[in-house]
Structures are given as C-alpha cells and as structure tokens.
Symmetry: C2
Subunit: 224 residues, 2 copies
Amino acid sequence: MANSKQTSIGTVAAEPEPIDLDWSTTALLIIDMQRDFMEPGGFGETLGNDVSQLARAVKPIAAVLDAAREIGLLVVHTREGHLPDLSDAPRAKIERGAPSLRIGDPGPMGRILIRGEAGHDIIPALYPLDSEIVLQKYGIENLLVCGVTTEVCVHTTVREANDRGYRCVVLADGCASYFPEFHEMGLKMIKAQGGIFGWVSDSAAVLKAMTAETSNHLAAGASR
Amino acid sequence: MANSKQTSIGTVAAEPEPIDLDWSTTALLIIDMQRDFMEPGGFGETLGNDVSQLARAVKPIAAVLDAAREIGLLVVHTREGHLPDLSDAPRAKIERGAPSLRIGDPGPMGRILIRGEAGHDIIPALYPLDSEIVLQKYGIENLLVCGVTTEVCVHTTVREANDRGYRCVVLADGCASYFPEFHEMGLKMIKAQGGIFGWVSDSAAVLKAMTAETSNHLAAGASR
C-alpha cells in the first residue's frame, strides 16, 4: 500500500456542532437491538410497552451498519440478558413492576431475557457478522488476572479495572516478565498498602477454591 | 433447578488477605498470551528479550483455565495488535527502541503484531474456545451510538463512555423509546450545554460522511 498511514477523516453534521471523525479510531455501537425488546411477545411488551415505537430505528441503523461494514469500521453489538439460573440477575430487577412475564419466565421466544434463548438474540435485520463484536453485558465484579507481562499489560489492566470498581486477584505464577525483578516488584506493588490495586494469589490457591466448587456442582447434580 | 438462586462462593488464599469470590460474578482475564510475545521469532524476542522467561506462566494459566471452564466461569482473552495499514498504531510506538523487526515488519510468524497474522494469535496451549471472549485492544476514540431505548441503555452507555474520554455521536433516528417524549428529551440532554454528553446526529449525516469515505476508498484502489 503506497500510502499506508493515510488518515481518513469524515465530517458528520451534528449538534451542537459538526464533528470530525477519524474512521480508523471510530466504532459503531449498536445497543440492545434484541428480539425481546423489539418484537411482540418479548420483555418490552410484557412490561406494557408498545413495541411498534421502537421499529422506526431499525432502518436507519441498518443503513449505517451497511456503510460501516463497507468502510471497515469496528462494529459492536450489545445484548442484555441473564444466566439460565438467574444467579447474575439482581432480585430488585427481577421483582420490579408487574410485567405479565418476568425475567426468566417462559414466553413465545423462549425464557425472557435469558442468554441463548431466541428472544435474547439480535433482530434478524441487524444480525452481527462473525467478525463483529457482540458484547454481553455481564454482571462481573471480580477478575482473576493472569498473562504477560507483569509490569506492563497486566499492571495497566489491574490499575484501570481497580479504578472502575473491580476486585482483581492476580495469579503470581500465571504472570511473567522478561525481567524477573520487574515481575517480583510488580506483584509487590499490587498488594502493598493493604492491597492498593488488588490481591495477589497463585494458581494453586485458585484451583483449590474452584475444585471445592466443582465438588459442590457434582454433589448438587444427582444424576451426573 | 431446585435451587436456582444458590450463590457459590469460593475463598481464595491471597495477599494481603484471603478473598471471597462469588463465582457467578467473577471472570478469568488472560492478558496477551500471544505467540508474538511468547515464542522465538516474535516481537518480544526482536526487542532483545529472553522469551523463555515467559514460558513459566503457561502451565499455571492452563490449569486455572481448565478449572474455570469446568465451573462455567466467564473467560476473557486479550490480544494486542494493529491493523494491516498501521493506521491505528501510534508513530511513537512503531518507532520506539531498536528492535530487529518493528511492528508491521514481516517475520517468521507473519507481520509483527498485525491482526490476523499467526504471531498475533493466542498460543495453542491456551487457545480460546468459541464461547469465550477475545478482546482485541482497539485504539477506538469515537463511538457512533444507536439502539434502544434512548433514555435507558443508550443514555447510560453514552454517559459512561463520555466520562471515559470517548467522543460519542448519537444517531437520533437510530435510537427509539417506548415513550416518544423520553426519546426527544433524551437527545436534547445529550447535546445541551455545548454537548455535555456528546453529539447528536442522524443516519443520513453519518451516511453522507461514510459515503465520501467509500468514494475515497474506490478512488485509492486502482484496480478495484
């Protein structure tokens, strides 16, 4: 490519003023265009809403999605939904209001707002390509962190996640550095001052806690 | 399931103190375990590093990954890498240091740190399942936001993204609400006070800017 560092900028008419966008650092973010919110019989309708109000957004999004794919933009789709056992759904959310069907109840498109059910999926008109990102909105609060290198990408991730309220447990033997002294010091920094960035553990300790969980699973599942 | 709201908690030995983890809200985060950092001939080695230093982390991570899959934990793999035309790679990053091969140069595992090349991929020992998340670390700065509903999930996303430094352009006709007055007011709130949360545009304006880009692409590609 003759001109590989060429920057392509588009100017978009917008309020309060036009905005210049560098397409190479711009993503298209499509939020929750799921059958459960958009189609009759889904969660939106069970809450008493008129789902036809939402249909007007489909065509404009489809047009922008086509153009975005044409120019190679990063496309991200989000989906809201919960685990089949509802363990990640706050009770206050499940019990709110008086919908005809609550989250997890069986409906015409499968269980309401449960991952993997037909109603949880994106509507056909805007269906994601395999190359696009589908961002499940998970209720994650804790991160078990491992990888390389300890003092660069692992540290940056833990610092930012900690600032955003995640509890980070770094696996000492699951991290490494090209420089052993940076590895050691990097781990010390995380757990210093009462755990200023998070916790430091190791794979054996995590495995021990997970294995207890596996035993519970096996004990709970009678016929397994 | 008899006991669907059962919470499973694991206690992990850690410093500065043991930590209780609710597995249903815990993710395993594996950072940049890519061939380019881990294997001979990759970027790590071209920078003059001894890649054998990193190999020690593989076995502990593989053990935790197996156990995490067993108990159904969310698993997230990250990858660092750039677009083939390097348009998303800061010049300061490309030019830094004196590696024998720079980012984008052809190496034994393909072009160094370029998405889609063999060296960019996760090492075989920790290869992601299709059901796991592979988080490409993109250099995205701008978000074109659309979806439903305007005043709930779209607003929340834009507010949080704006706080984190993204420039958000909301497509008015690509958003909708069950309540038209919430839709209108929601859009006004975004662009008020000089654009306190971001910009409001519409699909036609974005398409116009993208179409100009498509024409540029076509003009640039001689034989297309």
